[in-house]
Amino acid sequence: MDLNDLLEIAEKENASAKPIRLRCCTAAGCLSQQGDAVKNALQQAVADADMSDRVEIVGVGCMGLCSAGPLVKIDPDGALFEQVQPEQCASIIASLNGGGPAEASVGSDDIPFFSKQHPIVLENSGRINPERIESYIAAGGYQALFHSLREMAPTDVVEEISKSGLRGRGGAGFPTGLKWATVAKMKAERKYIVCNADEGDPGAFMDRSVLESDPHRVLEGMAIAAYAVGATQGFVYVRGEYPLAISRLKTAIQQARRMGLLGTQIFESPFDFRVDLRIGAGAFVCGEETALLRSIEGQRGTPRPRPPFPAQSGLWGYPTLINNVETFANIAPIVSKGSEWFSAIGTEKSKGTKVFALAGKITNTGLIEVPMGTPLRTIVEEMGGGVPNGQVKAVQTGGPSGGCIPAAHLDTPVDYESLAKLGSIMGSGGMIVMDQSDNMVGVAKFFMEFCMDESCGKCVPCRAGTAQIHKILTKVTDGRATSADLENLRSLCEMVKSASLCGLGQSAPNPVLSTLRYYPDEYQACIDGGAAAEASA
């Protein structure tokens, strides 16, 4: 396999495409709304209308606008159909043949939800067939790997990633190039690459969507990373809750192996790289890197103190590079288009784009990818279409590790530093919009219950502290708390934040601290006036 072979596959794939192509979303969001039945019905309709010679139905990954699913898009330059029902499919096919307008609701891809996006990570999502490697190759896939292996020294690759300014998309925003350089410098007989696909933050589904829509993109990023740091074995650690992502990854790994894009002597170079899947078993804490490593080793997912960092001593004591799905998905474009192209996007300290999952009380739910630094208001009000029949009260970012950003701060640009200043975090990219009917003490309690249940139990501040914070919050919502309880709540949150062993405990108090900061009245009201209403639908 070399570049010509790749180009040949791409050419063949493009040549086999039929004049009219209907793309059906087959990611989990649309599938759960009968997306599969829609795809089958379309195929049946094409066969019935005897149009198979010029119309094809392609299952693709996520198109983003989950709230309008199942989505069907006609290429080239055709309509975008929303909330398609299987019984509407015949009329859609008939309309292609001049049979009058389709009996399905037509959406527009010229709305801010789509037009304000800047897809890099998601550029293939909803376009290519995630179950065919040829489809990825036709979109230029694996060329970046070829360029890296054949035209760049490992140090050049690290350098390129460093210059791009890419920062880890898993939440903390550690400079990716620096992490790679650390692993690359370690002298060891073995090194590992780990892709953290244990996307546990409730309200976040970016990684799921990327894996379901464009799995090869992630594998290619991992392979480039492996080459850059000198690793030969990789693991993708995926949540067990994502069966579709797991099956598509399995397919992708098999296909890549069969084509020689994973395995030994890739692109006829001395570079070997093998990827295995590891399926998580329902433990949020395994998103923490040292816990994740223990889990890959078949143990209880309890974190350990760092240093040593995994880059120094990771899997089985060997240097290990851990990045998350979205980080790896950024690698191939950076290698292809160059670090300058990438670093021109975004803000001074936060380069590139970020994928966000919009959910909650918002008109358009789904996935968007915007340049770093895009104001929260643009995302929530313009692209998301605001709250249906209501007002934005707060936007929760970063899941149980993040905080609630009040509407007054909607003009904040979304980047690592700005969100941290507001007491929240970028996190992996979940954004839950809340309206006036949501009680913020209830929201804080919801997150604390989550952290309490997900605490591994190893360190005392997190194990006993989260349980105690939850107990105090319950007293508050039940109207049994005193102002002394609020004082205990605050000091305990500070202690758990400072004294916990890992990121779970260190960030668990954030939802409480941020709501205490922005919505002290709601806490006070519970103390003065008795029980608070649970957040209602």
């Binding site: 989990a28 969001g29 599938l31 759960s32 709304q33 989950c66 709230s67 699913g69 996307e199 546990g200 933050d201 409730p202 309200g203 976040a204 589904f205 799921r208 969507s209 949540r239 067990g240 809750e241 994502y242 590891r278 399926i279 998580g280 078993a281 329902g282 433990a283 949020f284 889990s295 890959i296 080793e297 078949g298 143990q299 209880r300 997912g301 089985w316 999952a357 919009l358 959910a359 909650g360 009380k361 739910t365 789904g366 996935l367 929760q396 899941g399 979940g430 839950i432 809340m434 949501d438 929201v443 919801f446 997150f447 989550f450 997900e454 591994c456 649970e534 957040a535 209602s536 639908a537």
Partner: protein, 178 residues
């Protein structure tokens, strides 16, 4: 402060892979998985996944068999099996309803759905109805936030659910015995 000993009713000697009919194909398939992982201790979680798929849940004897085969101390196997919420040491019901309790589903009223099913089945989340028909579980965000609240009915993700609709569905399971 009870003076009773918390322990499972069943106890088997360590290393005792007893009670596995040699004709049971499931043990052969489990064996194949362990072999593929070269009986490595660090494949424990993968092996437990396979064991649960094959047997539906992880019985103590099964865990002992795995411990013995992978040469992992029994207490560690039990520790791992109970650390991860995916693994169940008790049999599940004929039908399962999993209600997503992620943030998006929470703000869209998932807790009302849970309450409704708890009331209907007379069980709490994580339990199975006494007749073994229905298991109710909650999930940590299944990543279907765009269609919240999401409920997984016998493995099928359904979106934009209401308490009434899920109750009707589960009533069907409780009622007709299919």
């Amino acid at each position: 402060m009870s003076s009773t000993v918390a322990a499972p009713s069943k106890t088997a000697p360590a290393g005792g892979a007893k009670g596995q009919p040699s004709g049971d194909n499931r043990y052969k398939m489990l064996e194949a998985t362990m072999k593929r992982h070269q009986y490595a201790a660090d494949s424990l979680i993968e092996v437990l996944h396979t064991a649960q798929e094959l047997f539906g849940f992880l019985e103590v004897d099964l865990l002992l068999h795995v411990a013995h085969s992978l040469r992992v101390p029994p207490s560690r196997v039990y520790g791992v099996a109970t650390f991860y919420h995916f693994f169940s040491l008790k049999p599940k019901g004929d039908h399962t309803v999993v209600i997503c309790m992620g943030t998006a589903c929470y703000v869209k009223g998932a807790s009302q759905v849970v309450a409704a099913i708890e009331a209907l089945g007379g069980i709490k989340a994580g339990e199975t109805t006494p007749d073994g028909r229905v298991s109710l579980m909650t999930a940590r965000c299944i990543g279907a936030c765009g269609i919240a609240p999401a409920v997984v009915l016998d493995g099928n993700i359904t979106g934009k659910q209401t308490a009434g609709a899920v109750v009707d569905h589960v009533k069907g399971w409780l009622g007709n015995g299919s």
